[in-house]
């Protein structure tokens, strides 16, 4: 019994070391991205301008810009680094010496790469007095990141890119059309449908909360995003550890 406990403890200690090695590696080889940082500054400037635009509703402006421009661009530019060829993945598995650490190291380093953006958004939305919008943006990025990592395992890179583009650009746009249609007809959206819309277009769904169109609160939107992110993350790690390579 003692022997097994010792071996479990050693294994878990070894795993944490390997995960930290994996994180160090992805930080070393992937960051910083000067191009992404420049893009970040541009996107945040656009977000700021969308608040000051006197010809549109400030709230709508920032919702639209954040949902259709800022979140997709940030996720796409940071996430594309992880679309790696099989030969590079096998190299990295040997380098780190553990399959799970490579999978989780990639995902965690992607999440950490959003830290500068998230900190700027925190300050930004503190002045905008909408903490829930900030949380929806963060959870939306986490959920989209999990889907991007899952997509990165599609062997055909064009297919992987299509899945990513559909998730970060197409589905939010389609959800916007659905929301607009319900709103123009003044139809109340069912909680189940609202949950789906929170998943793909959380900011715009939140913008219609309290308007009799969306009755599901943004708190539930956060839960939906969180649950979906955990499922996508779990599937990603599972698929990564089971993927087949043909060198």
């Amino acid at each position: 019994m003692g022997r097994y406990l010792d071996s479990d403890a050693q294994e878990s200690g070894g795993y944490i070391t390997k995960l930290s090695n994996s994180l160090r590696w992805y930080f070393k080889e992937s960051f910083p991205h000067p191009q992404t940082e420049i893009l970040l500054i541009i996107l945040i400037s656009i977000q700021y301008l969308s608040i000051n635009d006197r010809f549109v509703d400030p709230a709508s402006g920032i919702y639209l810009v954040s949902q259709f421009l800022v979140i997709p661009s940030v996720v796409l530019f940071n996430g594309l680094v992880y679309f790696k060829d099989e030969e590079i993945t096998t190299f990295e598995i040997t380098l780190i010496g553990n399959w799970k650490s490579v999978a989780e190291g990639r995902f965690l380093s992607l999440l950490l790469s959003f830290l500068p953006f998230v900190l700027v958004e925190l300050v930004f939305f503190h002045f905008f007095s909408s903490f829930i919008v900030f949380l929806l943006i963060v959870m939306s990025i986490v959920m989209n990141s999990a889907v991007v990592m899952l997509a990165s395992l599609v062997p055909n890179k064009s297919g992987a890119l299509m899945v990513t583009l559909a998730t970060v650009f197409l589905l939010p746009l389609s959800s916007f059309v659905v929301l607009q249609s319900y709103s123009s007809l003044s139809i109340t959206i069912s909680p189940a449908m609202s949950a789906v819309l929170y998943l793909f277009s959380p900011l715009l769904t939140d913008s219609l909360y309290n308007s009799q169109v969306v009755i599901l609160s943004p708190d539930w939107g956060l839960v939906v995003l969180g649950v979906f992110a955990i499922i996508a993350w779990f599937l990603y790690v599972l698929s990564f550890r089971r993927q087949q390579f043909k060198p």
């Binding site: 090695n21 080889e29 030969e87 590079i88 096998t90 190299f91 040997t94 010496g97 799970k100 060198p247």
Partner: protein, 273 residues
């Protein structure tokens, strides 16, 4: 290194890469040979746990690598061809990362010192040539790792001097490995057991003693003075001949040939073609 395969089959759609392969090998330095598309890399990928068989089973040192992936990556280290690294970091940073993360624990064998990368330390990894990329890959597989090595054409693209240095270090390390190559001289330099694959099947397997039979020689021809004896097979200016040592000695004294030795892997290539 113990390799055991039973009825191992790997298919990709209609194409069969390995066909009902049975192997039972216990040797320290195994070399895998065969023509392009013979199934060498597929077998190595399977033994590394990167690929599952369509049918059958495989074990390496008692581990089923595709079912026990985490255990096998602890016990084995492998390299497959990378055409180009996407990393913008310098080789020096990569080496520092390995030094910090692997820590050369007891039981690991520091086969290669980082001095073999000294000449490219300042280069960025995405700017390395094919040979330099290969060198970094080999280093990643062997530096401060333990257990058996699985190496897919590790010295391809390397110049003769560099590959000679690496072969020397590999042999001195005393590590066990399975190694694929197309180069007969390289195979004989690093191996003590050989497997020749053809269309996913084992065409021939055996040790160096099985290869070096008396009466069959590799002869280095003198292009200015063609030989009079019968040639079984010819690889450029190297010919496989069946002859007696005395008559070959005479031919060498006459200037018909430059030298000769007992036929090795080239003879196996010819006999299994």
């Amino acid at each position: 290194m113990q390799i055991r395969c039973r009825g191992l089959q790997v298919s990709f759609g209609d194409s069969v890469a390995l066909h009902k392969l049975d192997l039972d090998i216990n040797a320290k330095r195994i070399v895998l040979l065969g023509q392009n598309g013979s199934g060498k890399t597929t077998l190595l990928a399977l033994l590394a746990g990167l690929l599952r068989p369509t049918e059958g089973e495989a074990f390496i040192n008692g581990i089923c690598p595709y079912d026990e992936r985490e255990r096998s990556i602890e016990e084995l280290s492998y390299m497959f061809g990378v055409s180009r690294f996407p990393y913008g970091i310098r080789v020096k940073d990569f080496v520092q990362f390995l030094q910090k993360s692997r820590k050369c624990e007891s039981g690991s064998i520091q086969t290669f010192d980082h001095e073999i990368l000294e000449h490219i330390m300042k280069k960025k990894m995405n700017e390395l040539s094919s040979g330099e990329t290969k060198l970094v890959e080999v280093f990643n597989a062997v530096y401060c790792t333990k257990g058996a090595l699985i190496l897919d054409e590790p010295f391809a693209f390397l110049d003769a001097l560099r590959s000679a240095e690496l072969i020397d270090r590999l042999l001195k390390s005393g590590r066990e490995y399975i190694f694929s190559t197309h180069i007969p001289d390289e195979a004989e330099a690093v191996g003590d057991y050989f497997i020749v694959l053809d269309k996913g099947e084992v065409k021939w397997s055996g040790s160096l003693d099985d290869i070096y039979q008396d009466g069959i020689f590799e002869v280095y021809l003198n292009s200015r003075n063609p030989p009079s004896f019968d040639i079984i097979f010819r690889y450029g200016n190297i010919a496989i001949v069946k002859s007696k040592k005395e008559s070959l000695n005479d031919s060498m004294e006459n200037g018909q040939i430059l030298g000769f030795r007992r036929a090795g892997i080239r003879r196996v290539y010819y006999e299994t073609k």
